[in-house]
Symmetry: C2
């Protein structure tokens, strides 16, 4: 039996929940969960915002733990090995995207907490090729959020061939943004933080930003016209996107990893005059998660966390909902 914490209705309190995971499939592994981050995606699912939650619902998709069992076909992982599990717990392994190493773009990918039980539990299972070895030197306690928030902001560096000579910006310095600043700094780039919070300025500079622009100050954004090769937005707010497009250099890119609730309402002419792009991307593939973890370990990049015990789960969720957590919340055994 697996002992988990589950919600039994939308927005419901999490309660102890035992389930029988059945026989381990040949290509699966079972992980003893040591730590699990809480992500906004867990809350979206808990509240059934995407209209696809099945109850009882066990959240948790930023897992750090050790391999407890391996399926008979699994060769590259071993019992006792320290591993991570993120947003995806399996892929179709048959489509052109899986074959191309873009498993995160697979239409048949299985999210860890959709139609299956996640990592707020003593154990969690997943397809072996979605489980990532944690490199030596990683701070295990804080590493969980790298598996979701971390890869989400790291992935654009790989996908769009960002160079250390590039000038990059991050909109929104929260759970994703505070990791983006660290990754972009370590990547060698010139880094600007766009934040609406003047109180974060000192911390933002310490995290890796070379410059700070108030994201609500139109004049400051306009003064940065034509400067950025890449701006990554982590927010769900509706900002003046045409102003951010104006802040891009020719051939620059405005990239979304947060999802604004309203359509973008962007003009084509400024894109055309400077051959600029708008794009967005989800999470990252297993091979890029592995690269990201090694890079993070080598550069001492880690999430800033607040720590709760698993039995404080409801308190931790309230803290996340308050918007005050800096910057990610971890559940620990």
């Amino acid at each position: 039996m697996i002992i988990a914490y589950a919600a039994f209705e939308a927005k419901g309190e999490l309660k102890r929940f035992e389930y029988d995971p059945d026989i381990l499939k040949p290509d699966e592994v079972e992980i003893n969960v040591d730590f699990c981050g809480i992500c906004h995606g867990d809350i979206n699912m808990l509240d059934n915002e995407w209209n696809m939650t099945q109850y009882p619902f066990v959240p948790g998709h930023e897992v750090i733990g050790t391999i407890a069992q391996i399926g008979e076909r699994v060769r590259h992982l071993s019992i006792g090995q320290t591993v991570g599990l993120g947003w995806f717990a399996g892929y179709c392994n048959e489509c052109v995207h899986c074959h191309s190493g873009d498993h995160n773009l697979c239409a048949g990918a299985h999210p860890t907490i959709i139609g299956r039980h996640g990592g707020f539990a003593d154990k969690v299972r997943a397809a072996a090729n979605s489980v990532i070895p944690i490199p030596e030197g990683t701070d295990l306690e804080s590493a969980g959020p790298l598996l979701c928030a971390g890869i989400t902001v790291f992935n654009p560096l790989i996908q769009f061939d960002i160079k250390p000579t590039d000038k990059v910006g991050v909109i929104g310095i929260g759970g994703l943004g505070h990791l983006a600043l660290q990754f972009f700094k370590a990547w060698g780039c010139d880094v600007t933080a766009f934040t609406s919070s003047d109180t974060k300025k000192a911390e933002v500079l310490e995290l890796g930003a070379h410059h700070v622009i108030n994201s609500r100050n139109q004049a400051e954004i306009e003064a940065a016209a034509g400067k950025f090769d890449l701006i990554v937005s982590t927010v769900d707010a509706n900002l003046n996107w045409n102003a951010y497009i104006g802040a891009l250099r020719p051939k620059g890119r405005l990239h979304f990893v947060g999802i604004p609730k309203e359509p973008l309402d962007v003009m084509v002419f400024p894109l055309l005059a400077g051959q600029r792009s708008i794009s967005a991307s989800p999470n990252g593939s297993p091979i890029n998660i592995e690269k990201m973890l090694k890079f993070a370990s080598r550069h001492k990049i880690k999430p800033i966390i607040e720590k709760y015990r698993f039995d404080q789960i409801n308190e931790a969720i309230e803290r996340l909902r308050s918007g005050k957590a800096r910057y990610r919340i971890i559940l620990a055994k």
Copy 2:
């Protein structure tokens, strides 16, 4: 003296106009104009739609002719050589974009018909590095539009590293689109034409499309969901862009070379789920115009034209305004 055709007020009739071009600058050439295409950009400027037209205004930026004079610093062109001149007649030559070979993204680039006199004339002048040698085997009579319409649709193939294995679409089969079909077919791609005109279907297939989709038929567009690596829109109409984004494969790109009048109104989630991009680009750099002309010559790509004499200029402009020209209009001596 140069003998040209100029408008003396917005939307005015073109009349004979003589001007003294002064002494040839050291880095300039003078071209004897043999043929000049008429482009929608000429009409936009003639009508002062962009609020920057100076009168008397001499349109014309799709010039084919021979070198009449060369400035004292010009080494790579010679008198009598057959050349073309497109949208840009000069660049700053000092900025990072010029230094990077992206002259068409130079903020100081000089359009041929803005603040200077264009190619509806017996002669026209331009900076030597904006003037492109016409390769052997080119059909000179019809080549003018390649210098503007042609490079505009060819450039995305270069900029976004489009592969012959890719599936590409063209929205709008007019002056730009009928060239795009030919270029994309010759590039080795699987080509789909999106056109609102069922009467063009046979012609569109002959131009290079393998498939035709009615751009106003929502069901047909939805049936093509997830298929395209690249869709290039040549229209200024406001279409259902979210439907076209849905027609892109993961990592696909919706690229604009036409400028819709309204903002795009696109949702981020479909971009994010499939790591899709939206972008736009202007014209092309001299080196890519040269590549395009050689490619067009080798693959027998040429605009379909209607021909007028220079002294029929006003009649030709009326024909272009009617929207009935198939597909480009050429003025010939």
